[in-house]
Subunit: 232 residues, 8 copies
């Protein structure tokens, strides 16, 4: 269903049901998410780039190589800055390197399966003007690897914690730091992981008192909240 | 099961399984939560008050009149400051009025059924050194009442949003402000509310990008996170 | 499974298990729903058009371009009136413009992902002889856009409200008007949206007292009920 | 939790957190629902009766004999009109017999266990100014009893259909009439009825196209919707 | 996973892990169910046909045209009797027309979507030596069509009742007859039908006392039970 | 809710909403189930006993000592025959010992916790005119105890199989016999038994092809079906 | 339902449905579990103590002070050895101190709420002839406390790990040791803990490869398995 | 998501985010699981084989013919030892035949559909240095076949029990032996098997006291635990 969104938006404009300026408003309002059809994404990026005064970064999540190709072809001037991050399916067009977040955001994750969601969070946080660093491969079944990085974590202002399976990482991380931890359950796993529900429930029941939770696989949303906190 | 916790803690101390200083550490570590048996709560409060150097506020959630009576009798010196908040079942012993949170926390709720959880959040936030104000009775089915308070909300640094039923309030509030919104689903409702699950799912799927979620009825936890953010 | 229905109906007729007039009765009884195989749909449309006396409109939901092509080819006389609505996958053959509904039906929706279901409802309502207008892109996280249209809503006799995610829109709309609101949850979203369950539960727990609910993605059914009410 | 609502409302007024006129507004706005503590209910009824100009009927759902006694004692002038309906736990104070609904509402139910919810719907519909009649004990496992009343049903403008267990009644009734059917699942049954979920799902999947659904046991809500439709 | 079964059985034989006679025993024991890969099915059918003394009928469920082709080619002697029933995906090889069931089995179903499962039940019942007749298209939303066939139903010794959506048909049928009704929920429907769970729950909560239930879509199993009863 | 049924039935009669003969019809139609209030049950039993011509047995399920006392006091003539079966909470008044069932029904159960439901089934089967015998304490974790009784089972015409926990007994029993097995899941167990859901699912997925299932704890219903089969 | 078990067992004996030696066999077979009614438990303990040759320890789980009193009164000879463990509701009668387990079992738990289940496991393990030690209050949100005990854990042959909330402890413990970890989810928590389901799912998805799981709150079962492993 | 893991690991190494030795550590640490892309798997196997001193066996689960081809081509020296087990999708490269487990592990399974998971468990157990034997096709509906093998089972030190559908096998097996039984639910079945949930719940509620459970389809994990126990 997601894949029809952009298509529909354009159709609505074509049919006169949605005024063009309203469509632009929608597109400008949020980092651009969930683009799928190459031509459509390219079209929208082109219109966003036309607003040269704006120096807002552009973020396209859940993209693929075909979309990246279209974005590059359609926007020659963007060639130098458009980047495709294949691990997470994110395209970034960086137009400003201004840092507006006050502190450091860490994106911590457990298994290699969780990295796509973690990267989506990391890149979103950066595109929104935050200093953000990854700390991957620190699952709770090998607790010493996480503890080796304790000092690093202590320097964070906000932590995004991405985990699937039993979703235990945020509790451990939350116990090690005094700053807010945004927990993101991932849909990795099989059987009784129920597409991320096991991790989601684990995080909602976290015994650490500085943990809050966003939807399953919502790396983008976690970064929005983290960025919002980091601007306070 | 909750009601056995305190009892067990004391038994463990009596049986030598838990060293007294460790028990004290546990009790000091967090605002005191979920005390139930009057004698036990009074005992613990007394030991906490003995640490006169400490000026930490004491918070007892999910209490009742009997517990309050025991707390008052056992701690005559506290008589003037111990207060029982019957709406939320919270007892507070305020030993310090120092404000350590940087901004204002608002606790917003929809229906009258949500007020006990909202009050738990409000009092917890205050006991932890935050300026915190309530904004109740602003459900989404009467949207103008919420909009009347838009300026007030704009002054908040963090918002706690407590709602049962369809859990729609955080989405609307999140769209009105630019600060983090901590959503607390409540177990009010009946039938297909499934003890707060409907509200929980609604909040996890919020279309506002600055909303995160804590467990059902967890007013205490929401205030911990909000306080943690407000100290940044 | 759905896709076999038509096929089976025709097989049953061929095998003598279902008398032809009974099959025709079935097809005439309801607006024609869920046709999938181009040849079959075309066949049925042809038989329906043969009843020239009837001026009943024909509605084919969940169709695609191939089905539309078959419908057009098989029914040259219908060429001028058969229309394919790609946003919703609906084909309409309008044989009568008579308005039998007494008032105005509004179809309100939140996100662009909800538009296919909203359009299915809109077109069904129109084909059933109602004046029906869309009001899209009025999600609760941008509440002012909805409020701008308050007068429009006040003119409705019945409102169909289509929303996914947290399903909060019907509560807000229900609070703004005094007429019945038919809520349609959609299966948009991911993770804890559970294919529309979050929106469904939200709507069943709506705090507005004029809201009733139909099945997930059932735009067709919502329009049937709305039309039924509008003929009272 | 429900039982605390009224108490809290009054406490809020006492504490100054809720202005009295706002409390009155809340109480006047809707028929009075879910009162529990006898003294509180009596207090509110007294304040409502003070508005002599108003001729609005008063409805107290989920009441018991103690509440009824308090209502009668506190409001001697109402003695003649206050009635306690023990089947449904509803108290009615009828101040106006004006019929504002245009047609007849029928409340149909299957088993004797469903009657409390059916009666709540029936009395609510009547207090809201509708002609409303019951048709009970017409379960689908004895289909002829329902069919005997087919003419009666044909005279209805709206039908409320209350059923637990498999929730099949609305489908059968919906197929017999051409008017809207508001289905109310009840929490009767045991085991795999899951407190009304089986009936709720059955009704959401109804194969009749004029059926919509409200929350489990929500007789009050069904009557609100039916009344809203009946005033169109 | 199902599709690997046959393959594995043969591999096990090849690897010596399963003695051939045991494999044959398995295949002979039950009507042959759920064959998928054409070559494998043909192989097994061939080995079964080799037991010429046996006059047991052969039943292959969930087959397709390719499997049918392979069965026909590999078993020329069976050419005349092997039949493919495309509605249900069943292949039958009838080697005996002996009727061992004492009475008549009726297979009743509601919507056209339910027919594949109903046909699976019908053909299984017949292959097991029962007189079995279909009665389709008698959904509860058009109750009179079912009632027209009441005499026919009265002649049944066992009834298999196949229904999706709200699963209400068995309750109505159970109320009309005095013989056992085997209810088969189907996975038709969408949204809140949850793949047949709504129908399953409806049937388990049937208010008719002669209804029992088998798994979702288990037409084969329902016929086994019905046949077992019919031989008593 | 169940406990209000009888009360309501009588109220309805008193209020004229239900004609007395209809009430009697309801009471006569089925063995009397789920009576709770002693006076009401006694009243109904008395009216049933007045029909002296009838020799129908009377069955009261889910009763207790108080109800039994009332039944005995109100019906002195019944004193000699009314029996209270405390294991299952069933009262039986045997007026006829005629055996109308053709064969033997066995009620098999696993753990001692399952016996109340098993006894409800056993007594119901007997009151309906069947030869019925218990076979308890034959759980699958001690399989040899069950196998010792294999010959006994082989003599059954229908088997009712009552089991909680993992609900495995019907599969094993079904594999040992060739007659229909009616499986009754019980709500015994704790934690992941989910009030009988684990047993229910186990039974629906039984690998034995002669097993059908009724609702959780529905010993009465299982006996109705078994009796219905045994009369064929 | 549990509380009726013993009662029923005795009734069955009295009624002749269960031979006394079989009842004794049941009671001897397993450590005696879930006794509730004081008189019954005392009766059974008395009969078990009569077998003086046996030196088997007796274990009564889920008991209370009244049961303990009855056990003591009825069995004067046992007075010196019968002990009531109020934390876990377990009564032990130690008749043998023989150690049959080869190594050390550790029972590790997180929160104070989990201690009743942990103690049930600990005492069961000891009564079954194992060296078993507790290690409580080592939750994952304070990871260093657990790590302080790493050497102790390294000495274990089997570990029982009891945790509620997010159920994360077994993963961390499993990563620290090379021996089997039996995970026991507890029903502590509220809201989205769903009575232990969150912890259960977390444990089933554990990322440590030496973790297996038993039912919610099943401390007794975990100790049975651990004891079984420890005797290998 | 699983299929991206390996890819990501390599990308991380290429991007410098994961030091090569850490990647190697990960790959060496556990038997290599869930490799999907042929080139990647081959690459990793090649690097593992380079550590010639190591004699650790290599295990690739969930592989296919293409992966096997790549493994063989890329590692000519492994040609003689790499084997593809098509039933389970496992590739084994046996470099050591040393037996480190003390006793015999049996892998017992019920239906042919369960064999892929059973084989994954069997091969994993063997690659980890255990004597492990299969015992397949011993479902509970044909209990005598299982009982024929009772002596064989009695010789086991640990039993892995793989079953789908109702998951009853571990209870029966657990009752026959005195050693630990590791139960693996499988996702076979349809309808109310809910992808293995029915079997999972059945196993968690097993009435045998020596049964523990791992995640659905987790043959690999069951073998890890069994191997861990077998080394004690």
């Amino acid at each position: 269903m997601k894949e029809r969104e952009l298509h529909q938006l354009l159709d609505l404009v074509r049919l006169g049901a949605l005024p063009p300026d309203r469509a632009v408003a929608r597109l400008k309002h949020l980092p651009f998410e969930k683009g799928k059809t190459p031509g459509q994404v390219a079209e929208i990026v082109r219109s966003m780039l036309r607003h040269k005064a704006s120096r807002q970064n552009i973020l396209i999540t859940r993209a693929d190589a075909a979309i990246f190709k279209a974005v590059r072809r359609a926007n020659p001037s963007a060639k130098s800055t458009a980047k495709f991050h294949s691990l997470s399916g994110v395209i970034t067009i960086e137009r400003s390197r201004e840092i507006t977040g006050k502190g450091q955001i860490f994106v911590v994750s457990a298994g290699t399966s969780d990295i796509p969601v973690a990267e989506e969070a990391l890149l979103t946080a950066r595109m929104m003007g935050n200093r953000a660093e990854p700390l991957y491969d620190v699952g709770v079944a090998g607790i010493h690897r996480l503890l080796e990085h304790r000092e690093k974590l202590a320097a964070a202002r906000v932590i995004i914690c991405v985990a699937g399976m039993e979703g235990a990482l945020p509790s451990v991380v939350g116990g090690l730091v005094g700053v807010p931890v945004i927990a993101v359950p991932t849909s990795t796993g099989y059987g009784a992981s129920f597409g991320g529900v096991a991790a989601l429930l684990g995080m909602l029941n976290s015994c650490a008192s500085n943990v809050t939770v966003v939807n399953i696989d919502n790396g983008f949303g976690a970064a929005c909240v983290a960025s919002c906190i980091n601007r306070l």
